[in-house]
């Protein structure tokens, strides 16, 4: 059996245990994303998408998203790559969402990224481990 090397990604622990990690999008744009195992798809904010000049007027598709407080049609686009630590996923679909201003991150790291790895949370050390 092959053992995959663990990459320990130091994060920042927020109020009430929220964990954020630094993510690199399309090789040169970095931001902090909230790790969210409840998000089916990874999310990036509209502002972050605007900065990268991603064309959200021509999405791959629009999907209906349901959060705790609303249902909406949300554009889905494809990133060339998203990297966390030394773990990179290419051609990753992401939702473009206007995140609440009280949430001071540029995205949510969702299941379609995390599912590529064996994931462990070390909340006390504010660390995400990807194998």
């Amino acid at each position: 059996m092959t053992r995959r090397r663990a990459d320990r990604i130091p994060g920042i622990s927020g109020y009430k245990g929220l964990l954020t990690v630094r993510c690199q999008v399309n090789e040169k744009y970095q931001g902090r994303f909230l790790v969210d195992t409840g998000a089916t798809l990874t999310v990036i904010s509209q502002r972050f998408a605007q900065e990268m000049k991603l064309d959200i007027t021509q999405p791959i598709r629009k999907i209906q998203t349901a959060s705790a407080h609303q249902v909406a049609q949300t554009p889905v686009i494809r990133l060339d790559s998203l990297q966390v630590g030394d773990k990179k996923v290419k051609n990753l679909e992401v939702l473009i969402v206007d995140l609440p201003t009280a949430l001071r991150v540029d995205g949510l790291l969702g299941v379609n990224f995390l599912e590529n790895f064996r994931v462990t949370f070390e909340f006390e050390q504010a660390t995400l481990v990807l194998r």
Binding site: G14, R22, E27, Q30, Q50, A102, R104
Partner: protein
């Protein structure tokens, strides 16, 4: 651009506490994490970074930039429901 001097990210976080900051990365640790950079923009609203970041990458297409909030991810007392 505000300040052309290279500073550690730690120093930038300290100076611009509770603000959004945009940094052009200039130095990384052996794992590729940025440790130093040049402050490009800062402000209390995320919006303050958008145009400076677009301009940075227009002028320097190969630059790496890092935008982040230098403070708590959510205000204390706020519960996040996603």
């Amino acid at each position: 651009m505000l300040n052309q001097s290279v500073q550690t990210l730690e120093a930038i976080e300290h100076i611009y506490h509770d603000q959004w900051v945009l940094v052009k990365e200039t130095e990384w640790d052996k794992r590729g994490n940025p440790i130093k950079g040049i402050l490009i923009a800062h402000g209390t609203e995320r919006e303050a970074l958008v145009q400076p970041r677009i301009q940075l990458h227009e002028h320097e297409p190969h630059a790496k930039s890092f935008a982040f909030y230098a403070g708590d991810i959510v205000p204390e007392g706020t519960v996040v429901l996603l």
